[in-house]
């Protein structure tokens, strides 16, 4: 009977989007719409110091003067920024809370999503299993952050952004907006005005963060947007690996998710940032789904520092994001590993920027795009070597795989070389899934769906290898699920 159980589990696991449930609970909202009062409301809710409020208000002023960009290869109905809630949070008692104070419904939600919020649960598994600390963000607030005490012992600060603004104001003030300036772009500017929660990480000099840090973002409320803000600082010689996961309920409406992530690596520091993005992608007809318009940027400020981005993008109705590296420090390096899967009516316009400013800087880009159904998948990237970036090196490889007659795949790489000693290399291919390989695998007894999954896994393997172990397994499953029903 074990085999039958396994089959049932597998079928359940393959259901198109298993995170699409809604949690019913008492929530409080900011009044619908967006104006300076909304910004004040959010700031007051978070009990922020005055400088933070002024910062937000200034961002809001600037946002009013900006225009929504339209250069990406994406199409959507105009977004009505007044027809949304900019703050939604589960009702709670005031003050700092322990896990016992969190609404049981919220806890149940995370249990259902398989996110361990109780520290002992993480330990309950196999002996010697790696620990990872979680910051759980539910709509506009962080509900709990685990392992804070254990991390504090080695001096690592891991908390929600709201808490950081209150408790570590100086650090936040020093670094916030220093990588992604307030008016960097339309969505980053909007985020600067109305950002709600996100994670804050500071790793002190010479410390190797003893466990993986992670944030799990959940959008639950209807007609709301999520605007998280994450700031990670690795001081001299520090190392941190950070994971990000996200899901949302299945709804007919489009919800906006406009996040900003800033990474700062000082001398000899390394930050590894991994994302498994699984926002609700909308249904097969393209109704509903999240608009994921995100600005992520890492600043290799110190010499020999390193920022590495790994992303698995399977969700969202529209993805518009370019995790980038500013290679400022001499000898610094940046990496970008990406898998972007689109199916049905999904649209993804994603890629990276590698800005070589310092001497002997290196960057590597591996991007694997898979489009199926009626979806569209664009790689857009920029590699630039400035006059002072002597001996800069870049290698870029973008491969696109097409599954089906009505999908689209685009590659738009920009290269700007202003240095005689820089060496920049780019190669790209676009092909369809090989019929020969498919035939070979199916001959061996695999169903068409399994055969596609196997071949696709081979195609993206180079990137999967870059993910932390637990995520890699999850990501591999996700890729298979996302392509469900795309062949035959």
């Amino acid at each position: 009977m074990a085999a039958v159980k396994q089959t049932v589990d597998q079928v359940e696991a393959l259901e198109a989007y298993k995170h699409g449930f809604v949690t019913t609970l008492d929530q409080e909202f900011a009044p619908k719409g967006l104006n300076a009062d909304t910004v004040r409301f959010i700031s007051a809710k978070k009990d922020e110091p005055d400088w933070m409020l002024q910062w937000r208000l200034e961002a809001f002023e600037r946002w009013l003067a900006l225009e929504e960009p339209h250069w990406a290869k994406i199409h959507h109905a105009p977004i009505d920024y007044q027809d949304s809630y900019y703050y939604a949070a589960p009702k709670t008692k005031a003050g700092p809370m322990s896990l016992d104070d969190v609404d049981p419904e919220v806890l149940a939600t995370y249990a259902k999503l398989g996110i361990p919020l109780r520290e002992q649960e993480v330990l309950a598994g196999v002996q010697g299993a790696p620990k990872y600390a979680v910051d759980a963000v539910f709509d506009s607030v962080s509900v709990v952050t685990t392992f804070k005490a254990e991390l504090a012992k080695v001096g690592v600060i891991f908390c929600s952004m709201s808490e950081a603004i209150r408790e570590h104001g100086d650090l936040v003030r020093q670094y916030l907006g220093s990588v992604v300036p307030v008016s960097d772009n339309y969505f980053a500017c909007l985020n600067s005005a109305v950002f709600s929660d996100g994670s804050f990480v500071y790793v002190p000099p010479g410390v190797r963060c003893p466990m993986e840090l992670s944030t799990y973002f959940r959008i639950n409320a209807a007609e709301s947007g999520q605007f998280e803000r994450t700031l990670i600082i690795a001081d001299k010689g520090a190392y941190v690996s950070y994971l990000e996961g996200c899901t949302a309920p299945m709804r007919d409406e489009n919800q906006l998710h406009a996040a900003v992530v800033e990474l700062i690596a000082l001398d000899d520091a390394e930050i590894k940032y991994s994302t498994v993005q699984n926002w609700y992608p909308g249904d097969a007809q393209g109704k509903g789904g999240i608009y994921n318009f995100v600005t992520k940027r890492g600043d290799c400020r110190g010499d020999r520092s390193k920022v590495s981005w790994t992303q698995v993008e399977t969700g969202s109705a529209i993805t518009w994001k370019y995790p980038s590296c500013i290679l400022r420090g001499d000898g610094s390096s940046g990496e970008f590993y990406s898998i972007a899967v689109t199916n049905n009516r999904q649209q993804a316009d994603t890629g990276t920027k590698m800005i070589h400013l310092g001497r002997d800087t290196r960057s590597r880009i591996i991007s694997k795009g898979i489009s199926a159904g009626g979806s569209s998948n664009t790689y857009r990237g920029l590699v630039s070597a400035h006059p002072k970036a002597a001996n800069a090196r870049n290698f870029t490889q973008c491969d696109s795989l097409l599954i089906g007659k009505s999908c689209a795949a685009h590659t738009v790489p920009y290269i700007e070389a202003r240095n005689a000693t820089a060496r920049l290399e780019h190669e790209a291919t676009t092909t369809r899934l090989s019929e020969e390989q498919l035939f070979y695998v199916m001959q061996r007894g695999l169903s068409q769906e399994d055969a596609v999954a196997l071949l696709v896994n081979g195609f993206v393997r180079e990137v999967l290898q870059e993910l932390p172990m637990e995520f890699a397994v999850e990501a591999q499953k996700l890729v298979a699920i996302s392509l469900e029903g795309s062949v035959g």
């Binding site: 006059p387 999908c407 700007e416 000693t421 060496r423 190669e427 369809r432």
Partner: protein, 348 residues
Amino acid sequence: MSLGSALKTGDVAELPSRRDEDWRWTDLRGLIRTLPAASPPGDAAALKPGPFDDLADETVTFLNGRRLSGAGPVVISADASRTIALRFVNQAHGTAHHSALSIALEPGVVLTLLETHEGAGAAYVADVELDIRLGEGARLQRVVLIDEADDAIAVATAEVELGSHADFAQTALTRGAKRQRFETRLRHGTAAKARLDGVYLLGGERRGDLTSEVIHNHLGATTGQLTKGCVRDQARGVFQGRIIVNRGADGTDARMGHHALILSERAEVDAKPELEIYADDVSCSHGNTVGALDEEALFYMAQRGIPDPEARGLLTEAFVGEVVDRIEHEGARDIARAWVAERLRAAQ
């Protein structure tokens, strides 16, 4: 929005600017504040022989935007010329002119078009518009030498339409200008073939821009592109190549390569090889590299007693030579090779 329409309407707002994504590296609006006056007719008696005169059956010359002989479209039928030299000569000083020509190849005919853009003036603004149509199974080989004045602004655009099984092969060689752009926009026919090659050799403060857009709308067409460039001093080279494969264009095979050498500290290369694909039974790829001369090859040559400047010259010539070697017409290939060698030597 183009230089041509700005010259026609006299409206600088018609000039493409940095804000137009396809012109971000060749900004004309930022450069031309007011449009210059129209060029006077040139002096035909002062015309020097063109580089391809000896190879051509017929020569069509535009002097300051005016065609010297004949009118209307050039139609190549089965009994017409096989080799045409097409010259755009700019004798103007500080003025602007526009030239336009249509060339049509009837089904099955073969034409070699040897084109030159010659700068015999200074600080002029020149715009060239070509409309080229190839009937079913027609073959056209186009070799273009662009030799504009240092301080000129020159844009040449060709719209090319291929009938089914047509074959179009083009090699454009440029040494840039204050701003120079050579653009080819090609629409494929069923099972048609296109080769779009380019070379830019830029020095001083010259800028050269080779841009192309190839659209596959039908079954089984192939595109091959190879562009190589060398920039030195404060020159800036731009390569933009876009291949669009629309739905239904199954069996498309498209390959694009762009490789550039930066030979001085302050030179710059900007490149954007783009693929836009809406069909699934395709095989498309592009490769793009920018770097310096291979140190190992230089070391090898130094070991063989070849002086450094000569070694660099040889390596650069060999690098660019790959593109020139792809020209099928023997006579044109020899002239192109000599053209490249002369410009590389002049730069040293």
